[in-house]
């Protein structure tokens, strides 16, 4: 439904987005990850037709966003960053306007507003002015605006920003549910959201895509992926380390001693084939093992290692 090819945006001397290509199909929820200023919002603004790209091509539902912006925009719902809304209107008035500009009239308009209000839990503030709303309600009002015409494509820029944990949960549920029939792109820098909602994730850094895959695939890039952690009682730390270091599948072993118990972590040479787990179990026969677990890999660690290749923070380009 969305196809982005070689998208580049240059602001002055800065390449905000640099040769980004990806596509999103119906039934997919694509998570857009990246540090602040990586180019997430700029990419979304180009997809929704707010900013024209410097070069590259975007098609939305088969329509080129530059050549046929109106049919393309009709297919999309967009929640901009910071969820702007007309402050001098009531929630109902704002949604009424959003429905009307999407071409809804009469009974269809009313039904659409009611549906959006219900999905976003706005009933209690329906006739309140937008500028008197709390941040969470304002956010949901803008979110309601983006789904008012039940679009096939949703572009959501940080949809859970500024919400409390319950509201976050509700919005995530909603996104996941809608993702079954729609194509959704949403940006976030909360990694747990990727697991909770996305079917695929893209990590973007300094305007370039640095990783693209399912959350599980991304996690496997972690050095933690497939690592075995074990707590052993009554063994000397260096003896444990020495023995485990000799394992064929082990890349690195770290140990920590606490109260006579050794916690040891063995990192694998290759993740995901289970060799390491078997070898560790064999090697540990006779030990008093209190705990044994295989790590799945950590997204935050992957995120950090990909987006900060060097910690000196020297400017590239």
């Amino acid at each position: 439904m969305i196809k982005v090819e070689n998208l580049t945006k240059i602001f002055g001397a800065k390449r905000a987005v640099d040769g980004v290509s990806f596509s999103v199909e119906r039934g997919e929820v694509l998570g857009f990850l990246g540090p602040n200023g990586a180019g997430k919002s700029t990419t979304m603004r180009m997809i929704t037709g707010f900013l024209p790209p410097t070069s590259g091509k975007i098609t939305v539902g088969g329509f080129d966003i530059l050549e046929q912006p109106i049919p393309a925009k009709k297919l999309m719902g967009y929640l901009p960053e910071n969820a702007p809304a007309y402050t001098d209107m009531t929630v109902y008035g704002f949604l009424d306007f959003a429905a009307e500009i999407r071409g809804l009239r009469g009974a269809a308009k009313k039904a659409a507003i009611n549906r959006a209000v219900e999905l976003c839990f706005l009933n209690s503030v329906l006739h309140q002015n937008v500028d008197t709303l709390s941040k969470g309600y304002r956010h949901r009002t803008c979110f309601a605006q983006s789904i008012i015409h039940d679009p096939d494509i949703l572009v959501l820029d940080e949809p859970t920003d500024g919400l409390d944990p319950n509201q976050k949960h509700e919005i995530r549920q909603l996104i996941r549910k809608m993702g079954e029939q729609k194509a959704i792109i949403f940006s976030t820098h909360i990694l747990e959201e990727v697991d909770a909602v996305c079917s695929r994730a893209i990590i973007i850094d300094r305007g370039r895509i640095v990783a693209n895959g399912t959350p599980a695939e991304l996690r496997r890039k972690s050095e933690w992926a497939g690592a075995v952690t074990m707590r052993v009682n009554g063994q000397a730390a260096n003896a444990v380390q020495e023995k485990l270091n000799r394992l064929r599948a082990a890349k690195k072993v770290t140990t920590a001693t606490e109260g006579g118990k050794v916690t040891v972590t063995v990192y694998p040479r290759t993740a995901g084939d289970g060799d390491l787990t078997r070898e560790v179990i064999e090697a540990s026969s006779g030990w008093q093992v209190e705990e044994l677990r295989t790590e799945e890999g950590r997204l935050d660690e992957v995120f950090r290692s990909i987006t900060m290749p060097d910690t000196t923070g020297k400017e590239t380009r």
């Binding site: 109106i70 910071n82 809304a85 009307e100 500009i101």
Partner: protein
Amino acid sequence: MNPLGNIKTIAKRELLAYFSSPVAYVFIVIFLLLNGFFTFMVGGFFERGEASLANSFFTWHPWFYLFLVPAVGMRLWADERRVGTLELLLTMPIAPWEAIVGKFIASWLFLGLALVLTFPIVLTVNHLGSPDNGVIFAAYVGSWLMAGTYLAVSCITSAITRSQVVSFIISVVACLFLILAGFPPVINLLQSLTNNWQWLVDVITSFSVITHFEGFQKGVLDSRDILFFLSVIGFSLFTTSVILRTHRTS
């Protein structure tokens, strides 16, 4: 959807927003008070003993508008940019010019409403004498067109900046130029400065709203005057669209 429907939707929202905040009411009250005060106290409506509104009532309008219209127009685009709703508006399935025209029409209708609410003065002059109501009508049309011209200029300045205050000040200065270019003392000054190059003086004074408004006050609906106001409005709205586009590309 058709452009007319889009323009109507945008204009309706804008008008609703005007009346849900005190701005609209404050504006109308001040506009009416100023009109009353200047017509009767300064303009000497009764002392003149004329069954006409030209010299006592309409003559002040270019000056009222100088401050009041930029106050109405300053928020048009500056606020959309500051709050971020511009992003919302321009990603909706409408052409940017439809949004520009829709917002302009809403504010212009609002100014028209304020103007219509001065109707008691028309009743008064009709009660006291027998004025030529055709002349009064023409002057009203001219006044509204002039207000639209100021408003279109305010649209440009509002699109330039995020700050309403900056927008207000720039558009007052721009509108002041539109007035002063036809103000007799300024014309005299121009003539002495340019060594009586009449063509240059004519070019400059032809940009003055006062020169073009005069005809309407005499009851003459001259197509050239109408064309002047409409073309300034058209040009200003076009400039607004260029400015809004430039913001997005750079």
